[in-house]
């Protein structure tokens, strides 16, 4: 029984690992291949099956004039848009989440939970529903094809995530913490800034991580709301897919685009495993 359990456990771990890692290995090997090794039949092992070269990686930083694809600018565009939108979403989301968690709102039959659900419901709807309204909205304020316009749209998309995570988190932060701070002589703003917020860093990190992930991977809105002036990384990568697909540079750029998320995941994992998620009470 016990042996069977161990066998099954490791079996599933191996299967899952293969499932998760294989695409990366595939992309990694492909990024070092040339036209011949991609199209000439199945090859796996470098130096044995094919001769690795750096062509796929070099094109990424070459300017288009020299036959490269130059992903540096879209890369920084993506970073700027994602980070700015995430930061603003976290700030606004945290403030509204705190209010929703601690104060009672009532407008007719609409109460706190309904407001929270309203935020979340923005993510239930398929994003394509919003494409035309967003397009018209941005064009009406002349922000189509601009970083600012994308940031506005991304805030709309990311703030519900921040609100959702932070409401849940604040609900778990005992009210007594705020009350103690009031008793100790803080006004409600100081209580929030000096006591509740420092205690909520784990929640902020989780919310921030989700915002960054969802912002970074968005292709849809970046695709329909920009044309020539600005380009975000996912759009750029997809655009590589021309009549003759350069699988090598496509793989390389895919890996480069995943890299920041892997770094984020490692940092967060480190932080969470230190046990910093435990609450302030008991």
């Amino acid at each position: 029984m016990n042996k069977l359990y161990i066998f099954l456990k490791y079996f599933f771990i191996v299967v899952w690992t293969v499932f998760v890692v294989a695409p990366f290995l595939w992309a990694l090997t492909t990024s070092f291949k040339d036209f011949q090794s991609v199209n000439g039949g199945v090859t796996y092992i470098p130096w044995v099956d094919f001769e690795p070269n750096l062509e796929g990686w070099k094109v990424l930083i070459k300017s288009p004039a020299k036959g490269g694809v130059d992903i540096i600018e879209p890369y920084f565009n993506s970073m700027f848009v994602t980070c700015t939108a995430s930061l603003i979403s976290i700030i606004l989301g945290t403030l509204s989440a705190y209010a929703l968690s601690r104060y009672t709102f009532k407008a007719g039959f609409v109460k706190n939970n309904d407001i929270t659900f309203f935020f979340i419901s923005q993510r239930i709807m398929p994003p394509i529903v919003l494409s035309i309204p967003f397009f018209l909205f941005l064009s009406s304020i002349n922000l189509l094809d601009s970083l600012t316009g994308l940031i506005v749209v991304y805030i709309v998309l990311l703030m519900p995530i921040a609100v959702w995570i932070m409401v849940d988190f604040f609900n778990k932060v005992p009210r007594e913490i705020d009350e103690t701070a009031l008793i100790d002589g803080c006004n409600p703003y100081q209580a929030f800034l000096k006591v509740v917020l420092p205690n909520s860093i784990p929640g902020l990190i989780v919310a921030g991580m989700f915002c960054i992930i969802f912002g970074w991977i968005d292709f849809f809105f970046a695709f329909i709301l920009t044309f020539t002036e600005v380009q975000l990384l996912p759009v750029k990568i997809v655009a590589l897919n021309s009549s003759v697909t350069p699988w090598w540079s496509l793989s390389a750029s895919a890996l480069v685009s995943v890299a920041p998320l892997i770094i984020v995941a490692f940092i967060v994992e480190r932080y969470l495993s230190k046990g910093n998620l435990s609450g302030a009470i008991k």
Binding site: P174, E176, I177, E179, T180, L182, I183, D184, G185, C186, N187, Q190, V195, P198, N199, I201, S278, A280, I281, K282
Partner: protein, 357 residues
């Protein structure tokens, strides 16, 4: 340090409902400066609501709160200069022990040297000196509760320190020492201490005034002795004391005596103005002794069991259909299963509608 007046205070969590449910029924009370009070009652009787009203976390549906005759009903918590300690330790996780203790003073812009002096003195009292520089979240649960307590005690000028079952998470040995410390602090600084608990022993040993509550009602206020000897209602008699007060349902048979199981028991209560004849007779088991040479107020009982509880013996006996309990000294010999017990007339409390006459 202040005298606290609660005048006609009541609270309902649904005041706009046509039939509001009151967590706290209207009551008035004065807490004198420098005294120790215990609010005693079973869970859900409104004890915490009462504290929260005093500290300003809850605004009462009706009534006024006065600190030193100044109306503070509309004053915010942070402006009331009050300290409150909750049942579970509340600490500021991101700060060190020192910063935790200093926080209430820092918020009120005390000078650095003053903060240092107070924090050190409180840490000394609570045995936290060696932890001052460690992060507060690294401490054990009872040390964390000490920090909560310390934050309550660090300001010398607080109107009152309100404690909501603060010693629940602390182990018994330390509990005893802390209760003594709190008493010392009260005597030294003349701080008004209000202590909520459902443990009567804790209340009795700690406070010089006990407020007994039941179902949102203040049932009786008084010294431990008063509560023990003259409970206002059968609830207090039942709730205070271990074992609970003996209560016999019976009828008044003359102006000062009641009949229990065909035996006439004399009391020192005037029973001539009763509306109905139905009353309850209450007597503490501590006052019931085996009859020596008394010639009245004697009852014949059948002893059911005798428990030796270390410093005393507890006799459980049958008096007709009633159960009667008597606490006697260890040395007392219980001769046989048939015993005569003496019920002293001056210790009898008579209740009509569960209220003392």
């Amino acid at each position: 340090m202040a005298k606290i007046d609660l005048s006609n205070v009541s609270h309902s969590y649904n005041p706009n409902d046509p039939n509001p449910v009151f967590a706290l029924n209207p009551f008035s009370m004065t807490w004198e400066n420098g005294n120790r009070y215990a609010i005693l009652g079973p869970s859900g009787c409104g004890k915490t609501t009462m504290l929260n009203i005093v500290s300003g976390l809850v605004r009462p549906s009706a009534g006024r709160i006065l600190f030193d005759d100044k109306d503070v009903t509309d004053l915010k918590t942070e402006d009331r200069n009050i300290a409150q300690v909750f049942q579970f330790p509340v600490i500021y996780n991101t700060m060190t022990v020192y910063e935790n203790l200093a926080f209430p003073l820092k918020c009120r812009d005390f000078s650095k040297s003053k903060i240092d002096e107070r924090v050190n003195s409180v840490a000394e009292t609570l045995n936290l000196k060696s932890f001052l520089n460690s992060p507060a979240r690294k401490l054990t649960a009872d040390q964390k509760q000490l920090i909560s307590l310390g934050r309550g005690l660090v300001r010398e000028d607080v109107a009152a320190v309100l404690m909501d079952e603060p010693l629940t998470v602390i182990d018994p040995d330390l509990k005893f020492r802390l209760r003594r410390n709190l008493k010392e602090i009260n005597e030294q600084y003349k701080t008004t201490l209000v202590y909520v608990t459902h443990d009567q022993n804790e209340a009795m040993t700690f406070a010089d005034n006990i407020i007994v509550m039941s179902e949102g009602e203040v049932v009786q206020t008084g010294s431990p002795k008063e509560l023990f000897e003259r409970p206002n209602t059968t609830f207090v008699g039942y709730f205070i004391g271990s074992p609970a007060m003996n209560l016999f349902e019976s009828e008044a048979s003359s102006n000062d005596s009641v009949k229990i199981n065909n035996t006439l028991i004399k009391t020192h209560t005037n029973l001539s103005n009763l509306k109905t004849k139905k009353i309850k007779l209450g007597i503490r088991s501590e006052f019931i002794k085996i009859a020596q040479n008394q010639n009245e107020n004697l009852v014949d009982v059948n002893v059911e069991k005798v428990e030796d509880l270390g410093n005393y013996k507890l006799i459980t006996a049958k008096l007709g259909d009633f159960t009667i309990k008597s606490k006697v000294t260890r040395e007392t010999e219980i001769p046989s299963s048939k015993v005569k017990l003496h019920i002293p007339a001056d210790r009898c409390c008579v209740y009509e509608d569960n209220k003392l006459i």
